[in-house]
């Protein structure tokens, strides 16, 4: 008997530990994923810089320090000056150790302080992909050798890579940035929100407050619940067949991306909205009706304001899902190489998740840390949105 009880208790403990292990394993996987992304991606926010002395006095530049502007400097041969200075300072092949857009840093330095045009200054210029890789992980033997030489000369340092936040896609990993994709994401989200929020709220209001019990309202309900469970790639196929092939909207545009995602987000908003509207107690409706309000007034003056926090929470969660969505956007052609940020919703654009997908396909090793860095930015945004949703839910949650 004693033995049997001991065995049962042991099995009880085993079962409990098994449950704990399941939870820890799941959470551990999440921790490992985040840890790995942060570890890989942290380097994407920094860059290796090489200090290069440039003597503008002897440089073949014809610029008047009094009237310096960005246009004049782009016309001047700053690339050549930078390359010469690099060759002079770092020896033969010095130019190749710098990023191809190192001259932009020189230009910005001149714009900051035109007086340096009459001086000899030492500027920290971004290093090439090879140098950057050699500084952070392992690169080819030639790059490692070049990096060791620079290190011995004491001219390399690590700086914050502001270009990563302000530049767009490029072919060279030292020059890429997320601004273009980020702006594309913002525009796409804007279109999605403007389309799905009013439609979603209107649908929720209609179904919850006015819809008669009839066969066609049943169909509406079924189709909304069904749409919420349709795989996202099917929405991409719909967007491709209807928006692009039938209606001939521009390919790769934030407008079409936003419309496709709006169809996907709308059911989420409707379902959240209906729950929020259902939670408003009937006594409020009765009271409003009792003092002579019309059914439309009851809803728009009383029910909707009370349900709005709940609807907003659902909307933010739906938008967060849309922000992370990739597959439907691939279908409508948002996987092109786009080096300039979109100016409007009809311009070719890309979005953050698609940019991550495109970079993950690149063979160049420098893209690994850029991909992870972009993932960090995306995850930070999603966490912020979800955090906001939880905050709103806690703040406005009411028990009637």
């Amino acid at each position: 008997m004693q033995k049997r009880i001991a065995a049962r208790y042991a099995s009880e403990r085993r079962f409990k530990y098994l449950g704990m292990a399941a939870v820890l394993l799941s959470a551990g996987f999440l921790a490992f994923l985040l840890f790995k992304m942060v570890g890989d991606g942290a380097g994407g926010f920094t860059r290796t810089e090489v200090a290069v002395p440039i003597d503008f006095r002897s440089a073949p530049l014809v610029i008047d320090p009094a009237t310096v502007n960005a246009q004049a400097l782009s016309g001047a041969n700053l690339q050549g000056v930078t390359a010469q200075a690099a060759d002079a300072a770092l020896g033969e092949g010095g130019d190749a150790m710098l990023s191809p857009n190192a001259w932009l840093t020189v230009r910005d330095a001149i714009l900051d302080d035109p007086k340096i045009l009459t001086q000899k200054v030492t500027l920290s210029l971004p290093g090439s992909t090879g140098i950057d890789l050699a500084a952070k992980s392992n690169a080819s033997a030639a790059d490692e050798a070049a990096y060791t030489r620079l290190q011995k000369a004491g001219v390399v340092s690590t700086g914050f890579n502001s270009a990563f936040l302000t530049a767009s896609d490029a072919t060279d990993p030292t020059q890429v940035g997320i601004w273009g994709a980020f702006k594309g994401s913002l525009l796409t989200m804007l279109v999605t929100l403007l389309l799905s929020f009013p439609v979603g709220v209107a649908t929720a209001l209609y179904l919850e407050e006015y819809a008669p019990k009839a066969w066609w309202t049943d169909i509406i309900e079924v189709s909304i619940n069904n749409l919420a469970a349709v795989p996202s790639i099917i929405f991409g196929l719909l967007g491709l067949a209807i928006f692009l092939n039938l209606l001939d909207f521009p390919r790769s545009a934030a407008l079409v991306g936003g419309m496709t995602l709006a169809l996907m987000t709308m059911p989420v908003i409707v379902i959240a909205g209906r729950n929020a509207i259902k939670a408003v107690p009937p006594s409020i409706r009765d009271a409003a009706l009792g003092v002579g309000a019309s059914p439309v007034q009851v809803v728009f003056h009383h029910v909707l304001p009370l349900a709005l926090p709940g609807i907003l929470t659902g909307t933010i969660i739906g938008m967060a899902r849309a922000l992370g969505e990739t597959a439907p956007l691939l279908m409508i052609g948002m996987r092109a190489f786009i080096a300039t940020p979109p100016g409007g919703v009809t311009d070719p654009a890309t979005v953050l998740p698609v940019q991550i997908f495109l970079w993950s396909d690149e063979v160049s090793k420098g893209f690994i840390e850029k991909t992870s860095a972009a993932i960090i930015v995306l995850l930070a945004f999603l966490l912020a949105m979800n955090g906001l949703a939880i905050y709103l839910r806690n703040k406005f949650e009411k028990r009637w």
């Binding site: 939870v23 799941s26 209609y206 196929l237 169809l263 998740p353 979800n386």
Partner: protein
């Protein structure tokens, strides 16, 4: 005038109409209230404002929408009537190309003409565009004023403005809710239409039961026969989504739910549940990247070290494992709900008989909650087989009919992406095959969802 400017102008007119109508109704109300009957005004002044504003806006907007569709053909007619168009080739493709070029230059989308004939047409194009544009704007404004004036004359104490405005609001609400039906119909129609075109080229039985998938060879002109057998794709999808992913997700999800509902302290539960839910919120492209870059190489090295042949750096196991982790929160929250729905009396009864907690869970709670758990698993499977990015990035492209989890397999969603990104000719069997695959995916996920909801619903009724 540009589109946004016209819209702003109309909007401005609408606002002006709202303000003036409301002012007039307010004056009427004051005089009406001074009269013998209190509350003689049927509607509040702002409803009269809305009524007039809507009458101002809607006719103008409808006209603009129609006009923007009619205008291009009017412009083309005007250009063709121009003397400069006399030398054009009579009809056909060449003429269309020249007209198109002229239109692009005139609208500033193109800098210079390749065809001199197009250059000659640019000026007539610009003239006709601006002429018809001006006509459109003037007509829209006239309509707006006419509508506004008509509505304005109707402002009277006994006019039921509120009823009219509310009827429109109800119409809008109903219209919004119909969008869900339209979307569903759009999905089904576009999938069916393109699939039917595909099945006119490829035998549907061959598609559903064939075992060789090589759309590339069909595209290269070896004919469609025998190239579109989708069974390896279906197998790959089931292998990754319904087998490997579920082997990971069901035990982990179920045990997590059991631990968090039955053993964990409330404070632990409060923290752990949202943390696990983050797993479902991570974008799938991140999982895909993680699977392809971290998990897959590690698995391949492991497979090679234990001597498995055919281990690939893109493997069913890598994709399935990561997908399983993604699915954990779905399984656990469904299990959580259905365990919580088991009446407390059943649990108490079992404990009172002397059973340990784990025995209660294993013999009472889980059997009672089983339908709910099964429903949750079915929903999770439906989610997993529709998942795209993880399999695109980590599962590979080789259509293998294999049981070896370390080899590369391909799935339905991977192939849809593969077929539709790249060269796009919309009449080839290769691109249309994507829609046929989409249709199969749509039907299967739909069936899974319906069955899952049925199972859950039926189970819920058991205790009520």
């Amino acid at each position: 005038m540009t589109g946004p400017a016209i819209l702003l102008l109309l909007l401005g007119l609408g606002v002006a109409a709202w303000i003036s109508a409301r002012a007039r109704a307010t004056r009427l109300q004051t005089t009406a209230n001074a009269g013998p009957v209190r509350g003689a005004m049927h509607s509040l002044p702002s409803y009269h404002g809305w009524y007039v504003a809507l009458w101002t806006l809607i006719p103008g907007l409808i006209f603009l929408a129609v006009w923007s569709n009619v205008m291009p053909s009017l412009v083309t007619d005007a250009v063709l009537a121009d003397p400069a168009a006399q030398s054009l080739p009579p009809g056909g493709f060449g003429r269309g190309a020249i007209l198109n070029e002229a239109r692009n230059i005139a609208s500033g989308n193109q800098a210079a003409a390749f065809n001199p004939a197009a250059q000659a047409l640019v000026e007539p194009y610009r003239a006709a565009t601006s002429r018809y544009g001006t006509v459109g704007v003037i007509l829209a404004i006239v309509l707006a004023f006419a509508g506004g004036a008509y509505a304005f004359t109707r402002i009277r104490p006994d006019f039921r403005a509120r009823t009219r405005v509310e009827r429109l609001v109800m119409g809008l609400l109903l219209g919004a809710s119909l969008i869900a039906i339209i979307t569903t119909v759009g999905i089904v129609a576009s999938l069916l239409w393109e699939s039917l075109r595909f099945f006119s080229m490829v035998n549907p039985f061959e598609f559903l039961f064939g075992t060789k998938w090589s759309p590339q060879s069909a595209a290269m002109g070896y004919g469609n026969a025998g190239a579109f057998g989708a069974v390896p794709l279906f197998w790959g999808t089931i292998f990754i989504g319904a087998i490997i992913a579920m082997i990971v997700a069901i035990p982990l999800g179920l045990m997590s739910a059991v631990y968090l509902t039955q053993y964990a302290k409330p404070s632990t539960r409060k923290w752990m549940k949202p943390i696990l839910e983050i797993l479902a919120g991570v974008p799938t492209v991140v999982y895909g990247y993680f699977a392809a870059l971290t998990i897959a190489p590690a698995l391949r090295d492991f497979a090679v070290s234990i001597g498995i042949h055919g281990a690939s750096s893109e493997s069913a196991l890598a994709a399935g494992l990561v997908m399983g982790v993604m699915i954990i929160p779905f399984v656990s929250s469904m299990a959580d709900d259905s365990i919580a729905a088991v009446p407390q009396a059943m649990r108490d009864g079992s404990l009172a008989m002397g059973a340990t907690t784990s025995e209660t869970i294993k013999r009472v709670l889980i059997p009672a909650a089983l339908p709910g758990v099964v429903g949750g698993v079915l929903l999770a499977v439906s989610r997993a087989i529709g998942e795209t990015m993880i399999v695109v990035m980590a599962a590979g492209l080789a259509a293998n009919l294999t049981l070896n989890p370390f080899s590369s397999v391909t799935t339905v969603t991977t192939q849809i992406v593969q077929l539709l990104t790249g060269d796009q000719e919309f009449d080839s069997a290769k691109t249309l095959a994507a829609f046929a695959l989409g249709l199969v995916l749509f039907i299967v996920t739909l069936l899974l969802n319906i069955v899952a909801l049925r199972v859950v619903k039926k189970y819920r009724e058991a205790y009520e």
